[in-house]
């Protein structure tokens, strides 16, 4: 190693560094543009189906069968919606769906908050074993219990009523219990202890202190179970027997069976059924994401 040879090398290195820095900046800029292009492209791909749905729902019958299909309707046929609502019958099914959904949401919010409080804030022998059981039930596929459950509900005469769709939600479900317990864990025990010192029992503490404190988690569960009940197809398919009791999901499916290629009406129906979920999503996105975060942050 000759010292005299090192100086020019160092200088050259500096130059290379500067050049490197500049080119890196340019690279970062180009990288950013590429990222935006990909983001916009992916967004377009993901939104296209919904745009297409609304566009198709406003086309005339002639335009539906024309080839190649047009991107936007020539004229907007809003009367398609009026027709669909009548043919469906949309409002009757919506009333049924709201009825079931309201009970399911209430059941899920109350029961899971109640059960999770027991797991998170009270000590009792066998708690850990029982909670392991809660988690284990998440692994059992719904189809494994579906047939014997159906037999059970047949034997007690519940088939044809809304009871099989509503009652189970009052007995907790593993995922929501887990989510709720996670939330309770972040609440200080001292609050409960001092309430107990003042003579409050757990029922009081749960209903008066915990329910208001855990509101965000309750809303999360409420929204998730609203979505689940509103879009439930399997349950109503199995247990609802009379047409006037149909939910929107069953109604849309039978409407689809009747009018296989009348895509404008079918897309109008699909749009109407989807609207509540989409509206809810835009207003309460925070809670959707929170639900995912609560589970995501703790898993693994």
């Amino acid at each position: 190693m000759d010292l005299s040879k090192q100086a020019p090398i160092e200088q050259a290195g500096k130059k290379v560094n500067e050049k490197h820095f500049k080119s890196r900046k340019r690279q970062q800029f180009i990288g950013k543009i590429i990222v935006y292009i990909i983001l916009i492209a992916v967004s377009l791909v993901l939104l296209a189906p919904l745009g297409w749905m609304v566009s198709t729902s406003l086309k005339s019958m002639e335009e539906i069968v024309s080839f190649p299909p047009t991107l936007l309707p020539e004229t907007f046929h809003w009367e398609n919606y009026a027709y669909t609502v009548k043919a469906f019958p949309f409002f009757n099914y919506m009333k049924n769906t709201i009825f079931i959904t309201a009970f399911v949401v209430a059941g899920n919010v109350l029961s899971n908050s109640f059960i999770a409080y027991g797991f998170a804030k009270i000590n009792f022998p066998g708690k850990n074993v029982l909670f392991a059981l809660v988690l284990a039930t998440m692994m059992v596929p719904g189809f494994v219990t579906m047939i014997p459950q159906y037999i059970l509900f047949t034997k007690i005469g519940w088939v044809g009523t809304y009871l099989p769709l509503i009652v189970p939600s009052f007995f907790g479900s593993a995922f929501y219990i887990f989510l709720m317990r996670q939330f309770y864990m972040s609440i200080n025990n001292e609050l409960i202890e001092s309430a107990q010192m003042d003579g409050a029992n757990h029922l009081y503490i749960w209903s008066r202190l915990m329910l208001p404190l855990t509101k965000p988690a309750l809303i999360t569960i409420g929204i998730m179970s609203f979505n689940g009940a509103w879009n439930d197809f399997l349950g109503p398919l199995l247990y609802i027997t009379r047409e006037e009791n149909y939910t929107l999901q069953i109604g849309l499916q039978s409407f689809q069976n009747q009018s296989t290629t009348q895509w404008n009406y079918l897309m109008a129906g699909a749009t109407l059924v989807m609207i509540p979920t989409i509206v809810l999503f835009f207003f309460a996105q925070k809670y959707f994401v929170e639900g995912m975060d609560l589970t995501g942050g703790t898993k693994g």
Partner: protein
Amino acid sequence: MKNADTSQFSKAIQEIKTLKKKNWSKRKKKEAWWGLLFVAPFIIGFLGFMLLPMLFSFYGSFTNYNITSQMDFIGLANFKRMFTQDELFTTSLYNTAYYVLFNVPLTAVGSVFLAVLLNRQIFGIRAFRTIFYLPAVLSGVAVYVLWMQLLSPSSGLVNTVLSWVGIDGPAWLFDPEWTKPALILMRLWSVGGSMLLYLATLQNVPKQLYESAEVDGAGFTRKFFHITLPLITPIIFYDIVTSTIGAFQIFQEAYVMTEGGTGGPSNSLLFYNLHMWNKAFVAFDMGYAMAMSMILFIIVLTLTFINLKLAPKWVNY
């Protein structure tokens, strides 16, 4: 005197101790009752809607139960029939395995891709996150009906777009070769759910890790494979377990999109659960269907077990 005194004293202490202990255990007992009261709904629900039905199913799988009259013990006949005589059973198993095998890895790759894409602080990123997540919250018949139109051979959006680039799109739901890819495509639309899981993890990764890697001259691929991927393996693991189990239960899509559970062209969409459904609620061959549900249970348990066993080898906790 002194001796007696001390003995008394120690007795008192002993008494206080036991009293305290008694009091404490009494309180503990009371607490335990409260605890049981609170978890009681779960226990009742578990027994009534899960354990007892499953035990009934287990017994029923060895019978020719048909929900009305007969329930004779027929040993392993249902299982024998499944693997030797019921060709549709094999078909349904194949269809389901095909779907799981393609759907699970594609969804995982897709959601990791979207998460990495979204994991940066740039203008408008929240709007993109909303858009990416939106399809994942939509579910049910409306989505299936929408996709039946999108995949419609002549008037659907998918083939229209394909025709722009000169590709003559397949008949999708009408071509047995393309029915399952059609469903997988539909599923890919809603990868946003697991994407959020990955995104939440990525956002917890300290920025310095990436910065120091950049100083060392690491490019995008090296940063991805040496920092990002090892850090999200636990989530990948969790995601694969849950989405495998989820994918195995595919039913609604196939039921709605084959117009009432017929199984589609050449039974190419006859999935395991659809076949079970038809046996149970169309043919009322309940004993056989319950035997099928037992096999499903074993398959899902095995998959979970394998996943749990494999996890330590490639998961960085």
